[in-house]
């Protein structure tokens, strides 16, 4: 009997769709690169390039996963990414000895913004949609007011983050892997993770079980903002400078929510995890790469992304109902 129940645990219905999405996306990528005679895309360098497209969105989406699991949402991440990139570039200003300070400043901003989001959501009981949208607008406003042009550049040694390799693996990919592993570990192994699912599943139940729910909401928001700040650092390293619109133009706010729900995490919280999220990120990265290879208008890719988001959420809902019935 325990064998049966173990297997229901491992193969929860929402576990299958992310796996199918990854396989489908990978196959499409392979077929298109062969069909368009761009087999270089299938080399290690090509695949590493594909995977590197996942880094900025993937890191942000890990934080977004935590926020959604706890029953909140963070729409300020895109503008926070810009702020983080700009602050880092501003502080570093080309000086290698200021790298640590720049990183610290970006992370500190992340902590402050996350704390603000979390406090507004948990203590003032403002709807998280509105709270984080508002904070996002504030951040973009501050950026626009403070910086007219590029506010400095990062030193060449900092660009190792985006362009360096360790044992042939891009450093940035290792960073993403570390963030995913950390988030996955916390969610599936630690007391904190178990309670986080409790808070997101039913805040009242969690509170009656003696869990201080506000702390989890605030903690998840801080985690999300810090991951956004890390993404900002990565993008500053990638671009060599911090531009005040890098986050907004990347669409990281809605994209990060989209990939999380593609991965099977409930928008209302309490179910899901980072494995699914990474599947969603992979699908988005593959769509970009495939449309690039086919040289099709990227806006069509946008349409495809939208359809994938809707159909996967519909599939989860449908399965959920069938399961209950």
């Amino acid at each position: 009997m325990s064998g049966i129940t173990l297997s229901t645990r491992r193969f929860r219905p929402q576990g299958l769709l992310p796996a199918a999405l990854i396989v489908g996306a990978a196959l499409t990528y392979a077929v298109v690169s062969l069909a368009t005679a761009q087999s270089a895309q299938l080399s290690w360098a090509g695949i590493a390039g594909l995977l590197q497209r996942m880094v900025a969105l993937g890191i942000t989406a890990c934080g977004q996963t935590l926020v959604l699991l706890v029953g909140s949402i963070d729409l300020s991440v895109a503008n926070l990414i810009s702020v983080s990139a700009v602050i880092a570039a501003h502080v570093m200003n080309g000086r290698p000895d200021a790298i640590a300070l720049g990183i610290a400043a970006a992370i500190a901003i992340g902590v402050i913004v996350g704390l603000a989001n979390g406090l507004i959501v948990s203590k003032l009981k403002v709807s998280p949609l509105i709270a984080t949208l508002g904070i996002g607008l504030v951040l973009q406003g501050v950026l626009s007011a403070a910086y007219d042009d590029l506010p400095g550049s990062v030193p060449a040694s900092f660009r190792v983050l985006a362009y360096g390799h360790v044992l042939g693996i891009p450093l940035a990919l290792l960073l993403l892997a570390a963030v995913v592993a950390l988030a996955g570990f916390v969610l599936s192994r630690t007391v904190i993770g178990f309670r986080l699912y409790g808070v997101g599943g039913d805040a009242r139940t969690a509170r009656l079980a003696g869990i201080r729910t506000d702390r989890f909401v605030i903690g998840a928001h801080i985690a999300a903002s810090v991951t956004a700040a890390v993404s900002g650092l990565y993008l500053a390293s990638w671009l060599g400078a911090g531009t005040p619109w890098v986050g907004r133009d990347g669409g990281y706010d809605l994209d990060s929510v989209a990939v999380v729900v593609i991965g099977g995490t409930l928008l209302s919280g309490g179910r899901g995890g980072v494995a699914g999220t990474i599947a969603g990120v992979f699908v988005f990265a593959t769509i970009d790469a495939v449309f690039n290879m086919l040289q099709i208008d990227p806006f069509l890719g946008q349409i495809l992304r939208g359809l994938i988001v809707i159909s996967s959420v519909a599939a989860y809902t449908f399965r959920g109902k069938a399961h209950v019935a």
Binding site: S2, T5, L6, R9, V191, Y197
Partner: protein
């Protein structure tokens, strides 16, 4: 002599000691007194039933006990120590658990994760999954349950989920458990299982407070009974010394036979609806004729198809096969909208989710059906322009709310159900399909609802009453159908015995003879 006393002391060492004692508890909300010097105690190893109509003060008393409300005056002693809870978490920590009607489990987490939420066994912040499963299994085993701890809660039946909820409470070493109408969502077989679990708890020395409107249950499992009425204690009795009639008289001031209006002596009217071989995914071979002037009771266990039949009649999950003919020659309604247009009223068994907009006012809720029928371009306030018409309906259903502008969610279950009746009354229906019409409703409001149903039938309407409450099936129906597996098993005459209905519902037609015999 000393020897006998000694034995008794050992045998009853735990049982019989007073676990909880609430002394002269009063509660005021502002200047309104809702509890008047109530004294209530629970012994270890007993089931103490708390009876009273909605508004009698049962929930307030329990909310005080479980720390949701502070007392205004009076004392609460737990194991002889005075307690002043300011938050439910403190009451839990002190060993007081409550099983609410609405379960509070996380559907996407496993049974073990739910049972040990907030108290996960861990080492250095890492959850010890194996110990978690073991502890959950132990808690379930104490209840005589073999639900696998690794199963997701969403895959369990409501009855199993309730067991998980109880296991969650006893895993926190609760010494005192409050059950708030636990059998409301359960069918008879599941209820019987729950009673075995409660008996198990009792014999292990847990003190149990059992709140229910169902007298049969109360007398089946309670050792003592306390009756509340209008915030005052009406007395505490040994169950052996009381009768259901006595308890109900104390609760409402009238005997149980007065609950149901007399059946009409007249013969049934013309056939209003004939179904031949009706079926869909949940229903098979339904042959049925509804007559004007009759109340048809439909009994069956959960999943027997009785609710599916109600939904099919109102076009929600419609018949896909069979011949359905209404008096006017038309077929079955294909959608709820068509049903409303054709004078078919539907009271869902899930009042809160499907019956009412809880945040909207009484008037808004009551005018919903009228608005649905209004022309597309009519102003939405059209019904409100004539509040007199809606208010007349409220009077018709004996609505007792002081203000018809307040949100429905703030009313008692009985008054909420009357709002639903008022809504349909506005459309002058000739067919009433009512599912669990008195679920979670106090005795006084029940009597009103039975009287309303009888009145609609006497006025020439047909009523189909789907219910898990056999007392009301027997008391209110003119004919009784018993369903199982989506089929009608048998039709029984009015006033059939409960045992006969149950025998059909549980075992199907073949084996009934021997069971009843």
């Amino acid at each position: 002599m000393p020897n006998r006393n000694g034995t008794a002391a050992i045998g009853k060492a735990v049982d019989g000691t007073v676990l909880l004692s609430m002394q002269d508890v009063s509660k005021f909300f502002g200047s309104i007194q809702v509890l008047d010097t109530i004294s209530f105690d629970v012994r270890a190893g007993e089931v103490h039933a708390l009876c009273g109509e909605n508004g009698a003060g049962k929930s307030t008393l329990m909310k005080i006990l479980t720390g949701a409300f502070p007392v205004s005056s009076g004392r609460i002693l737990l194991n002889g120590q005075e307690m002043r809870f300011v938050h439910p978490v403190e009451a839990r920590a002190a060993g007081i658990g409550i099983i609410h009607q609405e379960l509070s489990l996380l559907p996407h987490r496993t049974v073990a994760e739910n049972i040990l939420l907030g108290r996960e066994p861990s080492r250095g912040g890492l959850v010890d999954r194996r110990r978690m499963v073991t502890e959950a299994r132990d808690a379930l085993a104490r209840l005589g349950s073999a639900i696998p701890p690794e199963a997701p809660v969403a895959s369990l039946s409501i009855a199993e989920q309730q067991v998980v909820e109880i296991a969650k409470a006893i895993a926190t070493h609760a010494r005192l458990l409050v059950f708030d109408e636990p059998t409301a969502p359960l069918d008879t077989v599941e209820s019987a299982k729950l009673f075995r679990v409660i008996a198990e708890l009792r014999s292990s020395g847990v003190g149990i407070v059992y709140i229910s409107h169902r007298m049969r249950e109360v007398f089946e499992i309670a050792d003592r009974i306390t009756v509340l009425k209008d915030g005052c204690g009406m007395g505490t009795f040994d169950a052996a010394d009381a009768t259901p009639d006595k308890v109900i008289r104390l609760m409402v001031g009238r005997p149980v036979s007065a609950l149901f209006p007399p059946r009409s002596a007249t013969t049934p009217g013309e056939a209003l609806l004939t179904i031949l071989g009706g079926g869909n995914a949940a229903l098979h071979d339904i042959d049925l004729t509804l007559y004007a002037g009759q109340i048809l009771g439909v009994a069956g266990l959960e999943g027997s198809g009785k609710t599916a039949l109600a939904r099919a009649l109102v076009g929600d999950q419609r018949f896909t096969t069979g011949q359905i003919t209404f008096r006017d020659g038309r077929p079955a309604p294909r959608s709820p909208r068509e049903a409303v247009q054709r004078g078919i009223a539907y009271l869902s068994d899930d009042r809160k989710a499907e019956g009412l907009g809880l945040r909207q006012s009484l008037r808004d809720n009551a005018s919903l059906a009228l608005r649905a029928l209004a022309a597309g371009l009519a102003l939405p306030s059209i019904a409100n322009r004539n509040p007199g018409r809606i208010d007349a309906l409220f009077r018709d259903v004996e609505m007792r709310a002081a203000d018809f502008g307040v949100a429905v969610g703030r009313l008692s279950g009985g008054n909420q159900q009357k709002v639903v009746f008022a809504r349909w009354l506005a459309t002058a229906p000739h067919l009433w399909v009512v599912a669990e019409p008195t679920r979670g409703i106090d005795v006084g409001a029940k009597a009103t609802i039975y009287a309303l149903l009888r009145r609609y039938a006497d006025a020439g309407g047909a009523v189909v009453m789907v219910s898990s409450d056999l007392t009301e099936i027997i008391g209110a129906s003119d004919r009784i159908l018993v369903m199982s597996g989506g089929r009608i098993l048998v039709e029984l005459p009015a006033g059939s015995a409960e045992s006969e209905i149950m025998a059909h519902a549980v075992h199907g037609p073949g084996q009934v003879a021997e069971l009843v015999a």
